[in-house]
Symmetry: C4
Subunit: 233 residues, 4 copies
């Protein structure tokens, strides 16, 4: 049995959540699960339909994007995952989708304003949108550079990847992450819901204001602060 | 067997309606069922996925929000439910969701105009939207204050909670109620449908007028008046 | 066995199509099936959930709206059905829903412009929207007057109920009809799809032109003309 | 056994994907699968509900639209398929639907701008929209002329049907094609998703720019170029 069996199972189960949550059409998405100590992650093979996936088909890759186990070619976005894992040692799962509303905001090249508590329950900032990449970055090692585009945009905005676990890449689509692959998938579904509600909010009231600071803080802290009282743990 | 068995069953069954009616993502919603004579209500435990719910996991709480039965932590919105039950003795069920369209109106901080008979079949007023709370209220006992924000907005507008069984809390999301938890869930689904149709109505005709008074009255009375002739009772 | 067994089965089966086609929430819709020679129709009982319907629960009513068979109260919209059957002897089925997009156009008080061949495959005119009724009509025998509001609007526009089998009632919701209850249900689903596409069309291009006359004629005739070549009959 | 058995099976299976992918209401769509060497294609019979389809009911037609096998009348759009197969010998499958968002763009008479990588993964141009046909073309052999309208629009724009496998026909609806019927169905689903995201993009940012050239090229090449690295082949 593979010494990466657990990791591959995590990646498999998380990938299978994407179609159930209506976050992918065909194969337009992928999830990876990382073991930061061993410096590897398991990721969906490229272009394989979800109904044909299995634990065995997951590909194990190191943080330079080199396959260490598996017969199939890993997701074409593998290098983006690798860069993020290497630079952000606290994350254990990454999701990339082309989910409808989040992708529309990415195509519109706009950050998603924080309009309500559904958003504030998960992060206290607007959901960032990295600008489209420069031509040289695209013509070079594109997926590798996509990872740095994400990291640099977080640096520019002073955001912390432990507190903001999602981003839109301009003209492209969303990436989300978390401590585990399961949490990263959860974040993708939250992002899609928040993206839809934000568009509807602007349609109902083009002058809708951002959420006031006290309410942002309150909702985030009751789920994530030291005195958090949401959930059972 | 628990002396609250019936109440917990009502709460359980009503909670399980939320995902079936597409009113919740993950755990973003909760239903409670109250026994006004005994001064208690059964409510969903906080953060527990719907697929893992059971009658036994329902938490019984008194009208001050103190748990009287159950091993799990009750919904983080429990104090809002408690305040409403204590002040509105005629209601027996409360629902809170972040359903897509109703939440978008809440985020837009607008009451939902009464545009048609679907709305008038259920209430004769615009669906009210309480303003976001003051900073001190948020920093204090937030969920407790949310209950008063709802009650005060009803007082300010001269609305009667027996006739208008729903409200939007600005920047947050909807609450609905009714004689039973089942009726409160019904109201949440009606609210979501009315919220979607109202946005579409404004998109089709930005100058769409409110429903004329005679038609509001007719539709409400045929379902709720002394001479009601809708349904079998 | 009831001498209306066939009629009740037709009405039952047609009613059960409404939730399958996503045209109703809860009990917000009803279908009837008529026998024009005997001057009766079978219709859904009022307020009974679709999952509890059965052939036996269908109510048989004459063209004055008087129940001739059945223990339950017929749909609150029964008199509207009765008026249409009495005045339009060529129709054998009627559907009333509050389907989302069609109702939004009704609330916006606009006829649905004929923008494409999906529309022209079924009718050559804009889908009419009767104006809201006068106060006296509403305060009088409301459902009865709704029938006349529909008939009068067809007369005013010079429309033929054999060629245009659907209407929006302003501020209210759609009615459709056809030779059979099954065809009337089909028309309700077509109306909902056309209503959604028309709104999207205007959103994509606010100056979108109506379909040219030759294309309206071509599409309608290939399905309905003397030389029709759509389908197998 | 029919010598067209394989072709009919391909057509049958591809047709059955349309309702699964939510691309058709009732019978508003059809798929054909061609054998370019034998000069024939199998196509859905006209007006037959998807739930009643079978391999045996597929109709085999030559490239002039003449039935060579099958008891049923072929799709009313058969001549459009025939013209495309005859003039574009590299295609092996064609799909016609009235899917919601693609049809709305066709009704709006607008090409779909290339706003993101989801689009660029599949084609490097805006999705073309052929103008509505001239009156004489419509009154003549309409479906036959529809085929030429598509071909001529590609010629006018200098597009290559091997690289752009989809078109909107103004005021009407989309057609897609591909090497196989299965690929053509895939393209129909991609088109519908891209059409929805493009409308949302314009709603979020009316000034949203087209995708930059380098990113269009990169995404198309990684899926379709000589050095493609998407998928397993």
């Amino acid at each position: 049995m593979s010494s990466y069996q657990d990791l591959k199972e995590q990646a498999y189960l998380a990938n299978m959540q994407l179609p159930k949550l209506n976050l992918v059409l065909f194969t337009f998405g992928n999830v990876s699960a990382a073991d930061q100590q061993r410096g590897v992650f398991a990721i969906k093979p490229s272009g394989v339909p979800y109904e044909e996936l299995s634990v065995e088909k997951m590909v194990v890759v190191d943080f330079d994007g080199i396959t260490v186990e598996g017969d199939l070619r890993p997701s074409s976005d593998t290098k983006t995952h690798a860069v993020l894992y290497k630079n952000w040692p606290e994350i254990g799962g990454i999701v990339h989708t082309h989910s409808t509303y989040a992708t529309a905001w990415a195509q519109a090249q706009r950050a998603i304003p924080i309009f309500g508590t559904t958003h504030a329950d998960h992060l206290t900032a607007d959901i960032p949108c990295a600008p489209p990449m420069e031509d040289e970055m695209i013509k070079g090692d594109y997926e590798y550079q996509t990872g740095f585009q994400i990291i640099n945009h977080f640096k520019n905005l002073g955001l912390n990847q432990r507190e903001v676990e999602m981003i839109l890449v301009g003209n492209h689509a969303p990436f989300t992450w978390g401590k585990t692959a399961e949490k990263a998938v959860y974040n993708s579904a939250v992002l899609e819901a928040v993206a839809q509600m934000a568009l509807l909010t602007e349609q109902i009231n083009p002058a809708a204001p951002r959420l006031q600071a006290s309410l942002i803080e309150k909702h985030y802290q009751r789920k994530h602060g030291a005195g958090a009282y949401y959930g059972q743990s």
